[in-house]
Symmetry: C4
Subunit: 232 residues, 4 copies
Amino acid sequence: MLQELKSEVLMANLELTRLGLDVLSFGSVSGICRSEGLIAIKPRGMKCEDITINDIVIVDMEGHLIEGNMQPSSETLTHLELYKAFPGIGGVSHSHSTYATMYAQACNEIPCLGTTHANIFYGNIPVTRNLEEHELTDYERNTGRVIIERFAGKNVDMMPAVLVAGHAPYCWGKNAYESVKNSYMLEYIARLAWGTLIINPEKAELPEHVLIKHYKKNNGLSSFNIQKKTAV
Amino acid sequence: MLQELKSEVLMANLELTRLGLDVLSFGSVSGICRSEGLIAIKPRGMKCEDITINDIVIVDMEGHLIEGNMQPSSETLTHLELYKAFPGIGGVSHSHSTYATMYAQACNEIPCLGTTHANIFYGNIPVTRNLEEHELTDYERNTGRVIIERFAGKNVDMMPAVLVAGHAPYCWGKNAYESVKNSYMLEYIARLAWGTLIINPEKAELPEHVLIKHYKKNNGLSSFNIQKKTAV
Amino acid sequence: MLQELKSEVLMANLELTRLGLDVLSFGSVSGICRSEGLIAIKPRGMKCEDITINDIVIVDMEGHLIEGNMQPSSETLTHLELYKAFPGIGGVSHSHSTYATMYAQACNEIPCLGTTHANIFYGNIPVTRNLEEHELTDYERNTGRVIIERFAGKNVDMMPAVLVAGHAPYCWGKNAYESVKNSYMLEYIARLAWGTLIINPEKAELPEHVLIKHYKKNNGLSSFNIQKKTAV
Amino acid sequence: MLQELKSEVLMANLELTRLGLDVLSFGSVSGICRSEGLIAIKPRGMKCEDITINDIVIVDMEGHLIEGNMQPSSETLTHLELYKAFPGIGGVSHSHSTYATMYAQACNEIPCLGTTHANIFYGNIPVTRNLEEHELTDYERNTGRVIIERFAGKNVDMMPAVLVAGHAPYCWGKNAYESVKNSYMLEYIARLAWGTLIINPEKAELPEHVLIKHYKKNNGLSSFNIQKKTAV
């Protein structure tokens, strides 16, 4: 079971590299085994492209090292907060991909301006608040907490991405691979939004009925009644 | 006959990938056999780079599956509307290529600012209106219909491209391969226009006599008298 | 002699492709044998990457085909005008490279904003006027003529590049290869200028004493007294 | 000893190329042997990718050639000034990388807008003043001197990068390789800042407590008390 999870997490980290998202080696991908309460995650300080199956680290839900010769990613406690708060997710990806990080640095939501975006993300990509100075003492956990605070009462399945203010994006999914795929989608729709608003700075968001149509169509939800206000 | 069409459509889909236009696997290319009233199209949910000749799907003009083990592209009904309305075209390409999609999202025409553009496209690249809410029930067909509405009384041979508002571009041509080539040209002239207007936001369109000269020169139309107003 | 020229022109066309400048196959490179009064040039309608030595076409100074199985590039008459007017040049390159073409479309000079630019080009990159309607009947020759008009009384060795308004750049050099190298330099300094003016739209040109210093240093001209106003 | 230094400097120059930073062959990397008072540096006029170990040049602290068949890089005297003024550094890199050079040309500091930046560079990336006309006679040394002037009383370890106004960046580090890594980091954070300010031109710098937190975390300085005002 864990061997399979480690293998999946390895492949997802390699995919992050292949897609050009492990910029400056600041990326990290993890996956969870819910029945065992364990996560597999990238080791600290390695490029995604250099890791092998034996480098993947297993930690428990408190971040204690269970298996592996390396230290877990320095972002591990943030990943853990997300797994604890969002019981439906199976994988988490972090990267400093270019356009998504620009939006995170700008502390701006990524507006939903087209069907490419609406196919995957149900509405604007949310951005967290900045951490307060007193929250820096438990920095990694508190990074997870401001994400969770931003999603209070919202549907994380319909919005598998967030921008941490002044930092970079986090994405999640049913498993590690899907979280990487969502990181890739996020980067592309961030780039599209960035360029679209240069053409037309006054461009309003996609009409809600088109957003709903495309999100449903791409997610096989034709009979499901969703409302924009239930999302983030 | 159909085998040849399938082969051509396969190669055109592979070319879409090679040219970097099958972003997020949202691309689809088709070709038509007018005598049989059949089209060959990319299968649903595959990356262009993964398809083989046996994955290419044959459908009739109403979208009924005639041959193939896969479902046809989810954009099939849009392709069919274009083939029915524009009897001179032999291939259709759809992509979410970066700069063309930015213009589609901005709901802005791509202005004709240079000879690169004028060589292929006779004037500004048109953009459709948004679909109304009641048109979403037959979404794919109505996407085709708003394109056709935009071209009413216009010459589709002289303008083998359109931007669907809030969505992405469609291109066509004499055959599948030419429609892909036009998608590539469209992406490049969209990028040029985008950057040109950053340098000089007040830049007017290319003078009409230069547009006519270049369009004729590149299309072997030296003796043909064209007028701008007859195009889109 | 001609075989050597053809070989050099072939290599220069391949280099244009390798450097990513033969966008949409709109590039063409030529070289001249002054003693014979003949030029070697890329054949019409081919991608640079596909040509072989036997495809290179030889024409005389009036553009008559002297050797070759293909037609010469459709830009041949423009190349010839430049060779006739600028006796010191040995090679000419044309491309639709991205940022240089944006500036040509914007009808804006590329301002000299840094030492990268000053190392190669002595001052702002000039832009021609638009062709008048009556000049379109002899379009290729008149494209050459508006370039020559722009350089009247100027030193073409110190400014081996020009932007044709609404069209794209031309570059030249001591031979075909150097003209391609200058096309590459032009593209890079166009990109730098484009991005610099987004950061600081009020940025003035490089101080003249720095321009002179860098141009001399990079061109081995330490004892040569140049003045800005003698250049374009 | 020198053989090892030459090997390290060779690898660092090759890395500059591999990372896409040796644009137009204007890059140069050097390393110093403090005990011998000698530096190893790239030869003049070569592309980084073409050099071999025997091409690496050894010069003394006054720039006299000690070993090698080639002339040292034309930037050698600038490198030497930095080694003399900053006794803690072991390697220096120069490049004309795209976004860092745009900021240098704009004569703008690169603002610290996110944690990617704060992980490596403690605050905004400084820019020098322009050289005066009378300083051009000893151009390379004076380029070093305006950098040193800008860092008067500052901590060069916490800010291993500078922009030379109207020119391009210089970076340094504990050794040649680390200086190249810092050049790569600089280029990426320049690109991020450039795009971030297009999204939100009013974006303020990262709050100081977050800057301190990230800089300490990434540099293993958890117990070290740093203050922003002590940096550049």
